[in-house]
Every structure is written in C-alpha cells, then in structure tokens.
C-alpha cells in the first residue's frame, strides 16, 4: 500500500470525518443545552452557542433538588451491576455444557435455546404472566428479570466461542486430573474466555443501563424508577403539556413538577455519562463482539 496522499484518500477521510461529526454533534447540542442559562434557552431555544452559560442545572441536581434523579441513578447502577453479573453467570453456565460435544442430548438443548429466537409469545402474554403469576409490578425485580436476564443469542455466541477456541484435549486433561466440571469451567475455560466475557458483559450491561421498557411496562411507582424511566417520564410530561388534551387544572400540577429544560438536559447528560466513561475501555471488545456475532444477529 502506498502512503501517497491521493484524491481518493482525501475523499475517504472527508466522508468518514463528516459521518463522525454527524454522530457526535447531536450530543453536543444536549451537552451545551445542559450548561445554558435557562433564560437564554427560553429566548433562543436549543443552541450550540448559547448567549449565557450556567451550571445551575448541575448544582440543582447535586444540591438536593434532584434527589429522585440521584435515587434513579443508584437504581440503574444497582440493576445494571446485579443484572450483568447474574446474566454472565447464567449464560456461561448454560453455554459451557452446550459446547461439550460429548454431552448427551446436546442438540435438544441447543434447539431449546435457539427456538426462542424464532418464536415468542409477544408482549400481551408476557405482561400477563409477569404481573399476574409472578406479581413483579412495582418491584425492583421488574427491572431485572423480564426479557433481559438471559439472551439466547448471547448463549449461542458464547457456546461457539467455547467450542472453537478451547481445545477439547485441555478439558479432557483437566478431567483426567480429577477436576470437577465446575472447576474445569472456572479454572480452565473461563480464564481462556476473558475477551468473550468482556464483550458480553459490556453488551449485557449496556442493555440493562439503557433499558426503559421494563420500567414502562411494569413500574408505575416512581420510587422504583431507573434513570431511563425518569427521563422517559419527563419527556411524557413535555408531550402532555404540548397537547391540547391537557386541561388547565391537570396542566398546573404537571407544570409545577416539570423540571426546566436545562435540568432535563443535564439529566440526559448524566444518563449518558457512565457509557461514555466505560466505552473507551471496552471499545475493542465491542467491535470484536459485533464481528463475531454480527452475521447471526
């Protein structure tokens, strides 16, 4: 490959830079708005170059005005950490036996996992089951268990990783040394699978952190809201105010509860923050994960 700068190279980089700018700039609008003085926001709307800057929104949230935001933040962190750990544990424990070619009825179990990717009952039966049989409405379990805890696709990805990268002889040798299956998984297989575990942990964690649907379906009590549910509720209130359906009386109570634009934007920024902090460390695992699992995703 020549290192000359040809017109082709210039065009390639120009397009790629333009695409990157399109990816990033919208976030800047949110970030800048969260640091914009409320009166400037009222006057000029959302802007990349505000007339007056302000850190009021952040001091308000941290200074006790946003206690529900901070609570929601801890709910999100707790659900994400617990959910990701449980999910990784269950996925690994399921994928390892499936990767063992000598396991009797292996294909039956593999199909059992796989079939869930082809067919599902949909929202109505799931909703009925979780609320009427398991009574998870308005509990933290509602954020943790439905839909997110174990994903068939990740099980299959991990099984494929085990069966293609870990030599059978290694497992056989460990078994002859008298290692139990759980020791083999923990001492031999897991250490060799760190990249895959990191990839899945990031993807599963992302799923939990970004999830707002479980909260929308199963949580009405704001005490159990995650940060995404708080963001979602604020957006619903904005929408509610802009529709003619809002009567004067109900409008009053929503208006007095609705945080200012700046505060709403700062909550959005705060909601983005953990992903942006963690992402650089997991970037290569994410790319690897997409490359491995992509085609079948």
């Amino acid at each position: 490959m020549s290192k000359k700068i040809t017109p082709g190279v210039v065009i390639t980089h120009t397009i790629m830079i333009a695409l990157c700018v399109i990816c990033i700039v919208p976030f800047l609008l949110i970030l800048v708005s969260s640091f914009t003085d409320e009166s400037a926001l009222m006057m000029n709307g959302y802007s990349f170059f505000p007339e007056k800057w302000s850190t009021y929104a952040y001091t308000y949230i941290l200074g006790g005005g946003g206690s529900n935001v901070i609570h929601g933040y801890f709910v999100s962190i707790g659900v994400t950490v617990v959910g990701t750990m449980l999910s990784i544990l269950m996925t690994t424990l399921f994928a390892y036996p499936l990767s063992r070619k000598d396991l009797p009825f292996r294909n039956v179990f593999a199909f059992f996992v796989f079939f869930t990717m082809l067919f599902n009952g949909g929202l109505v039966p799931s909703y009925m089951m979780w609320t009427r049989i398991f009574h998870i409405k308005n509990t933290y379990a509602a954020l943790l268990f439905p839909a997110l805890l174990m994903n068939a696709f990740y099980v299959i990805m991990m099984r494929t990783y085990f069966s293609t990268t870990i030599p059978e002889e290694l497992i056989e040798a460990a078994r002859l040394d008298g290692g139990s299956e759980i020791t083999i998984l923990w001492k031999v297989v897991a250490p060799l699978s760190k990249p895959m575990v990191a990839t899945l942990a990031f993807m599963i964690g992302l799923g939990y952190w970004n999830d707002w649907m479980n909260g929308l379906y199963y949580v009405t009590d704001t005490a159990y809201f995650s940060i995404q549910n708080i963001l979602n509720r604020m957006l619903q209130d904005v929408q509610f105010l802009s529709t003619a359906a809002a009567t004067q009386a109900s409008m009053g109570s929503v208006v007095s509860n609705l945080p200012t634009t700046g505060i709403r934007m700062s909550v959005a920024v705060v909601g983005l923050l953990p992903i942006m902090i963690i992402y650089p460390f997991f970037q290569k695992y994410l790319v690897k994960g997409i490359m491995i699992g992509g085609v079948k995703g």
């Binding site: 980089h13 695409l19 009222m42 709307g45 796989f114 009952g121 799931s126 995404q228």
Partner: protein
Amino acid sequence: MKTKKKKVRWRRYMPLYLMMMPGMIYLIVNNYMPMSGLILAFKRFNYSLGMWKSPWVGLSNFTYLFTGNDAFQIIRNTICYNLVFIVLGTILAITVAILLNDVTNVKAKKTYQTLILIPYLISIVIVSYIVFAFLSQDSGFVNNTLLKALGKDSISWYTSPRYWPVILTFVYLWKSFGYNSIIYYATIIGIDETYYEAARIDGATRWQQVWYITLQCLKPTIITLTLLSVGRIFYSDFGLFYQVPMDSGPLLNATNTIDTYVYRALLTLNDVGRSSAAGFMQSIMGFIVVFSANLLVNKIDKENALF
C-alpha cells in the same frame, strides 16, 4: 455391566445438566410460558377469571381488529419502514465498511470505528431528547436557528405526519449504521489481498476492484443479513416508533407499527382483545417469515443459516 456404565455416564454428565438448570428455568419462564398465552387472542379476557378460565370468543378479536383502518395502517407501516431500512441501511453500511477498509492509518481507522458506534450505545429515550432538541416547535434548533436563518416559517414537527417517514429513517440509520458497517467490515478484512493485487496488475480501476472483488465477496453476507432482516419484517423497534415521535397522536398514521399498537391497546386502552390479536398475528407471521427466510439462506449459503 450395562447399568453400571449408565450410572457412570449419569454421574459424569449430571454436573453439566445442573449447570444448565438456571438458564433452562429462565427460558421456560421468560420465553416458553408466554407462548401458551397466545390463546388469549381467541378469548375475551376477564381479569377476575384469568387467562385459562376466560371465555372463548372464536375469531371475534380478529374481526374487531380488521374492521376499521388500524390493521392496515400498522401492517403497512411496519413492513414499509422495514423495507426502507433494509435497503438504505445495507447501502450505507457497505459504503462505510469499504471506506473504513480504505483507511490505512491505524489511528484514524480506530477513531472512526469508535465514533460511528457511539449512537448505537445510547438509549432510545436519550435519542428522543436529542430529536426533541432539534425539532421542538418553539425552542428546537431547526425551527429557531436553521429555518430562521433561511427566513422560513417554523414547522410544527410533532403534528405533521408527512415529515416522519424521513425523520424516523434518518434516526434509524444514524443509530445503526456504525454497527452494521462493522459487520460488513469484518467480512471485507477477510478478503484475500492477492485478489486485489492480481486486479491491479491487470489494470483494474478502484471502482472495478470494488465492484468485481469487494462486492462479490460480500454477496453471501449481504444476502444472509438481508434475509435475516426480512425475517424480522413484522417486528419494529418499539422505542424508535413510540419514543422518538413522543407518542404524539397526530403522527400515528406515519408512526404506528404493530409493536406500538400492541402496547397502546394493552396498557393505555386496556383492550386485551385487539392487543392480543395483533400480537398473535405478529408472532405467527413473524415465525412463518423467519422460517422461510432461513430456508432460503440454507439454500444459498449453509454456513450462515440460523438452523
């Protein structure tokens, strides 16, 4: 002798089966149990009687769903958006993947990869905040800055359905193109470099190389990914169609899909009948389509078939 052997075998594999227990239980609860709930589509659900004891009503939920405009609207929207997403999404992703592969500077390549994936990482709720910051009637960036600068009147985006096919397609592409580009990029870096060398010796231009080598080698991936997306043609991203238009009533004709319809019918209108009928239709049609799509993949490229 035989029983002893069996016993040894049993003892040997028991721990492995035990390991699978938590996952099995979860799949049964989360995935298999709700499948039985599909019968709700043929019942008049009564909260006090529960799912099993509620009376059967035959197909009346379906006739109820298909009288009126709703069924047509949600099926049309779901399928048409998916088709547009598949075509434009594939073209964009392949273009970006080829460009990414052309970047020789390792640092630049890594930076581009990192940045184009950022929209993929963000929850759709925050995407809605961003879209609202641009499109809000009185304070949005587009109305207040862009249109003002052009001397045009502001537009009431959230009540004008005709703009939304474009807006939603844009948001979809913005959020997903990075992810899809990486998938195609993974295939491109696997192409044997000697093909290109041979082509260059034969005097092939850049375009000819892309057309005759890159695209030819990508063909199996393109076909597979397209068929798999076609298999999901009755499903839509609930967040994109519910959250981004902010659940705005006047936009429904352009934004209502099967998933948003099922949700609204169930949780805002409390209409279990129509909701479960629409959900039933989605599950069954979805299964038929994904099954046929996979049969096709199997014929073309066995390696990439799901089963």
